[in-house]
């Protein structure tokens, strides 16, 4: 029990503290790729700290939903952080509901964030909320189907055990189904975390943005919480991609040495994936909003094909 609590705290620290760094790394790499020096990777920490100390402006139109939402977001992503196998193969809350719970926790976050977007009564918030829920709703089937394709191959729905099984029997992963599921999941990751080509996290042109429009009314510590939660969500999706499709380096024991090694492995995998996302983001343009569903439908088709491949091969 105490060991599990210790693992939970270490995992929360890794995710909570690592998330801003991952985002900072991505921004730095992107800046370098386009020939700018860019901010240092640890800039997000400074941003968050600054925002935490700033005054909060709350719209008089808004209600308690607006003020509760940042905490709801943080709560959902922190619980989600305990379900994803990050560096130990058996995450502390794995027994609570597996991948389905993870998907619906992210939906809980989207639900409240979209309500907060509507709460202030500005057109931007409503626009962002409407677009965000559209993207989230269309992305959900892909996540479930893609992960189920993996689960079916590993014969378990428990994420930790899926990772373990693939780690021990790598030939299971050497399969076209795996590649299709990876592609589908990668596209969904970009959509769910608001990256290019679905959404541009750097834009502040109201008419083109999705996520940034929805959180336009937030300021001060609320904005810090919203941004932190967004960073954690990005970190978790990247970790899922890294661990589900490159299932090596996770530790089953909880000794400090093994955990350190697992963290280094995680860092390596995330660095490679971050590089891939940075290259992608600097080389594609943002899609027109109404082309996004086509991309998501494509990713769903990939996930479905992957599942079909698994069923037909069996």
């Amino acid at each position: 029990m105490i060991v599990e609590a210790g693992v939970a705290i270490v995992q929360l620290m890794v995710v909570g503290l690592g998330a801003p760094l991952l985002l900072g790394m991505l921004r730095t790499v992107k800046a370098r790729l386009v020939g700018r020096r860019g901010p240092r990777p640890w800039q997000p920490y400074a941003d968050l700290w600054k925002l935490l100390g700033k005054e909060v402006v709350v719209s008089t139109t808004s209600s308690w939903v607006f003020r509760a939402t940042p905490y709801v977001l943080v709560a959902t992503v922190l619980v989600a952080a305990l379900i994803v196998p990050v560096f130990v193969a058996h995450p502390p809350l794995a027994f609570a509901g597996n991948i389905i719970l993870l998907v619906y926790l992210f939906m809980l976050a989207t639900f409240f964030l979209a309500l907060a977007g509507l709460d202030a009564g500005s057109a931007f918030g409503g626009m962002g909320a409407s677009r965000e829920v559209a993207v989230a709703a269309l992305a959900e089937p892909t996540i479930i189907v893609a992960v189920f394709a993996l689960a079916l191959r590993a014969d378990t729905i428990d994420l930790g055990r899926v990772v373990e099984r693939f780690g021990h029997e790598p030939w299971l992963a050497a399969n076209p189904a795996h590649l299709l599921a990876f592609a589908a999941f990668f596209i969904v990751m970009l959509a769910e975390t608001g990256r290019l080509p679905v959404d541009n996290p750097a834009t502040h042109l109201e008419l083109t943005m999705i996520h940034e429009a929805m959180v336009l009314e937030y300021s001060g510590r609320y904005l810090a919480l919203v941004e932190w939660a967004g960073a954690i969500k990005f970190f978790l999706f990247m970790t899922l991609l890294a661990n589900l499709f490159f299932p090596w380096g996770l530790t089953s024991s909880v000794g400090p040495g093994a955990m350190l090694l697992a963290l280094v492995a995680l860092g390596g995998k995330l660095a490679v994936l971050t590089g891939a996302v940075a290259v992608l983001e600097t080389s594609v343009a943002k899609l027109r909003l109404f082309r996004v569903p086509e991309l998501l439908a494509g990713s769903f088709a990939l996930a479905f094909l992957s599942l079909m491949a698994v069923i037909l091969v069996q």
């Binding site: 139109t61 027994f95 639900f111 202030a120 409503g126 409407s130 689960a151 079916l152 729905i157 569903p293």
Partner: protein, 636 residues
């Protein structure tokens, strides 16, 4: 007088719940009065599955009756009809032979018809009542045909005898009976494409009646489907289950798609009833398929998921309809575009509606999540099926359940956000006041039920499993676990709603407290919404429900087939000054256009052709009788 009758209805609800719980823990009982009803007599039997539905009716009848006590007189005047509606619904799951069942079923339909027809002045209400009457009686015709055929083949009108005799029937006869009975029950359950009456009738009725109709009455269709596919006819072929599964997948996705573009608050909820019946049928269909494949343990898992979602839907749909009723009273309209800002004027209603919205959107840790999780796990068990065709259908079921979850979340962001948040969009909404105490009490009871049903799967699932096992006969328990964690399908997946709730609570409070300790917050300033430099900020600048749903309209355009009309009147001197804009946006129903209209036209053409026979001359009619008599003699 109102209080007395509705109090009696609530009392009936309590008795029904108690009796149902007694039946669910293994109690049995029977009442037989042969002289009361012709053709077999009155025959009421309490068994496990019937007891579950009886408890469900009672559970929903109590808060709706409390709500009705405080409802305005024009909505609550049909008190005896309401009482009759509750009583006749209670009889349906108890009925044990054809005649008793059909009488109870018809009483339920007629009383609900009069409740739908409460507002006899409005054309839409009369039309809704008419469509409802036609559809429900078409369903009754199917049911009667199926039951009488089955009675003739097995030689008994009693359901108990069917159980024994049905497996020996020819497979064609069994399937014929299945099709007739399933059609009749699916019509009552609002399964696509037999759903057309539901979005008309449910909004037309007073809100406490809508709550009962959506929460419980359509579940009796599910009850019948479960009886037909698992109980009365014995173990059927796999295609029965596949049909139910496909109907469930279609109903869930199509129901929520219609709800997304509907901005009438009560009709939106009615469409969500179609969606949720679809989710229930996904569980039930998987159960029938597993039963056919000789996997009773998995069949039990699917049936448990279906039963769990049945009771969950009763809780949150009743809550949402009562909440919608409170809002409609306060604002005088069902149109969401004229609402807004109600969270400040009706804080209790808003909080309860938010709980219901989160529950129906299957957000953890509320009850909708638990039953959808179970349904997902039941569908994931397709790994035990060998046929590729079956697997394909299950995968489609999984995908449509996931899509439904996402779209339902989007739809309830719209339903709650546009109705309760931001600035009021009309004067009526601006002057709305909180609902009376009885209304709030009813809503709080149901909201508490949503939370309780969400946190207690480790207690509820075994209880429902026992109900399911009594239907499936000799099925081993599919779920194990302790008070904290539920393990299903032999350790394939586990769920701990309590752990999720505790973790979410801790993760909500700890950062809030830590933030105060680490970095003391500066002051909070209340200021108007950022308006891009505009001077006035009015409700007209808010996002509307139509605008909110427009991305979905574009994405699913092939389904909605929207027609848009934009009419702009410019100033005569300059095109840069707009004097008037008119925008209309209609979606059309493919079921209406492609199924019901051709069917109705065919019916009319047939009637017109038959009309030629009706000359009005008595001599001709005598000739008809003679011809018919001769024909009979020749044929026999």
């Amino acid at each position: 007088m109102n209080g007395l009758v509705y109090g009696l209805a609530a009392f009936v609800g309590i008795v029904a719940t108690a009796l149902g719980c007694y039946g669910m823990v293994g109690g049995t009982g029977a009442v037989r009065l042969a002289w009361l009803v012709p053709l077999g007599g009155l025959d009421l039997t309490l068994d496990s599955l019937g007891a579950f539905f009886l408890a469900l009716i009672g559970f929903a009848a109590v808060p709706t009756s409390i709500y009705a006590m405080a409802a305005p007189p024009d909505e609550s005047k049909a008190r005896f009809t309401f009482l009759g509606f509750v009583l006749s619904m209670c009889l349906v799951p108890l009925a044990a032979n054809t005649m008793t069942f059909v009488i109870a079923w018809e009483l339920m339909s007629i009383t609900s018809y009069f409740l739908v027809l409460q507002d006899r002045e409005s054309r839409s209400s009369v039309y809704a009542g008419w469509v409802y009457a036609v559809m429900t009686h078409a369903g009754l015709a199917c049911l009667l045909a199926g039951m009488l055929l089955l009675g003739a083949w097995t030689g008994s009108p009693r359901f108990e005898d069917w159980r024994a005799a049905a497996p020996a029937l020819a497979s064609g006869a069994r399937s014929g009976a299945f099709i007739l009975l399933a059609l009749g029950f699916a019509g009552k359950a609002g399964v696509i494409p037999l759903h057309v009456w539901l979005p008309l009738a449910h909004p037309a009725a007073p809100s406490h009646v809508s709550a009962l109709m959506s929460g419980v009455m359509i579940k009796l269709g599910v009850y019948g489907l479960a009886r037909v596919s698992l109980d009365w006819l014995g173990i059927g072929p796999a295609w029965w289950g596949l049909t139910i599964l496909i109907a469930g997948a279609a109903s869930s996705v199509i129901g929520v798609l219609y709800a997304l573009v509907d901005h009438d608050l009560k009709r939106l909820l009615a469409f969500h009833s179609i969606e949720n019946v679809g989710i229930i049928l996904l569980g039930l269909g998987s159960s029938v398929v597993f039963q056919a494949a000789g996997q009773p343990t998995l069949a039990l898992l699917g049936l448990t998921a279906a039963l769990y979602h049945t009771v969950n839907h009763a809780a949150f749909k009743a809550l949402l309809f009562l909440g919608a009723g409170a809002v409609v009273h306060a604002t005088g309209t069902r149109n969401m575009e004229a609402m807004g800002g109600l969270i400040k004027r009706m804080p209790w209603t808003a909080a309860c509606f938010l709980v219901g919205s989160a529950a129906i959107a299957a957000l953890p840790p509320l009850n909708g999540f638990v039953s959808e999780w179970l349904t997902f796990v039941a569908l994931f068990q397709n790994r035990h099926l060998s046929s590729i065709g079956l697997n394909l259908v299950f995968v489609l079921g999984i995908a449509s359940l996931a899509l439904t979850g996402g779209l339902a979340m989007a739809c309830f962001v719209k339903a709650f956000g546009i109705t309760f948040l931001a600035l009021p969009r009309s004067d009526a909404a601006a002057s709305a006041v909180e609902a009376p105490v009885a209304t709030r009490l009813a809503m709080v009871m149901l909201a508490a039920a949503c939370v309780g049903l969400g946190l207690g799967p480790t207690v509820i699932v075994p209880a429902l499993g026992a109900v399911g096992a009594s239907v499936l006969e000799r099925a081993a328990p599919a779920m194990v676990g302790d008070w904290l964690t539920l393990e299903v399908a032999g350790g394939y997946a586990s769920l701990s709603a309590l752990a999720i709730a505790i973790a979410l609570g801790a993760a909500f409070i700890v950062p809030m407290a830590a933030l105060r300790l680490v970095r003391a917050p500066h002051r909070t300033r209340d200021y108007e919404t950022w308006g891009c430099g505009r001077i006035v900020q009015t409700a007209r600048m808010e996002y509307t429900a139509t605008a909110f749903a427009s991305p979905f309209k574009r994405v699913f355009d092939f389904f909605y087939r929207t027609t848009t009309r934009l009419d702009i009147e410019f100033h005569p001197q300059s095109r840069f000054f707009v004097q008037r804009i008119e925008y209309e946006n209609h979606t059309s129903s493919i079921f209406h256009d492609w199924l019901y209209r051709p069917a109705l036209e065919l019916l009319r053409a047939g009637a017109r052709a038959a009309g030629g026979l009706q000359s009005g001359s008595a001599n001709l009619y005598l000739a008809y009788i003679l011809a018919a008599l001769l024909l009979m003699l020749v044929l026999t």
